[in-house]
């Protein structure tokens, strides 16, 4: 089964940059969400294995998505992808259950390393 990936970012350019950084040889399906509510809706349907989540989004931001994701005990690993790289931001998202924090612009090697740590090899 291919790994199902959700890329949640309000910027279509940012989504493109992230999808481009996913290694080409991976067996994955990629879905996109343009805001926090869309991201949560996709997670609630239960077919997201890994979500790449931006923090600064209008309406429901990444912190809000993480909070709801945890409150509702939704499935799927969440990797935060953010331009805001303050240490406090990193601590906050970890406390909210994100497994990793990747700095924008994303680096393909970093994504692969993070997933490998969680035993996901594609």
């Amino acid at each position: 089964m291919p790994l199902s990936i959700l890329v949640a970012d309000d910027s279509s350019i940012a989504r493109k940059m992230l999808i481009k950084a996913l290694p080409a040889h991976w067996d994955i399906t990629v879905a996109q969400a343009a805001d926090g509510n869309q991201a949560l809706a996709a997670c609630r349907q239960g077919n997201v294995d890994v979500m790449f989540l931006d923090l600064t989004m209008p309406d429901l931001d990444g912190y809000g998505v993480l909070q709801a994701h945890r409150d509702e005990d939704l499935n799927g690993l969440v990797i935060v992808v953010s331009a805001d790289i303050q240490e406090q931001a990193q601590v906050r998202v970890r406390e909210l259950g994100a497994i990793a924090f990747i700095q924008k612009p994303v680096d393909a090697g970093k994504i692969e390393r993070v997933l490998k740590e969680y035993g996901i090899q594609l």
């Binding site: 350019i13 493109k16 940059m17 331009a83």
Partner: protein, 202 residues
């Protein structure tokens, strides 16, 4: 008269680049001030020079402001202005490690913070576009000046200016500042072409 010099794709690409540059600026400021900095979502618009003053009042309110200016050169040129609403300055000298709230200390703080923001944000954008960038020394252009008098149309060389607005808020205190980037038309078009190349390369 249309003031849209960037296409929707170019504007969105610039917004993401500003977002990344600003993240670096925010992290630098957070480190200097040892506090969490809240970052806004950047807004990009083209503004007729004649309307710039009212745009600034819309951004920062009509209270008194101080401001610094820094020119930059990369494959396009422009200037960055960091605007500090006056009422948010109280106590900042302590955070920055100064004993007294003197005019000199305040000026230095504004120049220091402005320099970090502009370098990280504009330098970050240029870097992502694969360009080198250079900056003038920052200068204080306003000290307790009404916001509507900050920029006069006759000081803006271009008919249209690109307005890049971001702001930073310190959660623990009532501090905020706004960064705007002004570029003349020909440089906006050069930036647009660079953004096209960037998007094509993704």
């Amino acid at each position: 008269m249309s003031t849209d010099l960037l296409t929707e794709d170019q504007r969105e690409a610039l917004q993401e680049l500003v977002n990344i540059g600003m993240g670096q600026a925010g992290a630098s400021i957070a480190q200097v001030l040892d506090e969490f900095v809240k970052l806004s979502i950047p807004r990009i618009s083209s503004v007729a020079a004649a309307n710039l003053s009212q745009e600034i009042v819309r951004l920062v309110g009509d209270a008194d402001v101080s401001a610094i200016r820094q020119a930059f050169t990369t494959e396009f040129r422009g200037e960055a202005i960091v605007i500090y609403p006056e009422q948010s300055m109280a106590g900042l000298h302590e955070v920055m490690g100064y004993d007294a709230d003197t005019k000199e200390n305040k000026g230095e703080i504004l120049l220091d913070i402005g320099n970090i923001l502009v370098g990280a944000c504009v330098g970050g954008i240029a870097n992502l576009l694969g360009m080198l960038s250079a900056f003038s020394a920052p200068t204080l252009i306003a000290d307790q000046t009404p916001a509507y008098r900050l920029l006069k149309p006759e000081h803006i060389q271009a008919r249209v200016a690109l307005l890049v607005e971001v702001y930073f808020v310190l959660e623990e205190r009532d501090f905020r500042c706004h960064l705007i980037i002004l570029m003349p038309e020909t440089d906006i078009l050069a930036l647009g072409q660079a953004l096209d190349r960037f998007v094509d390369g993704i």
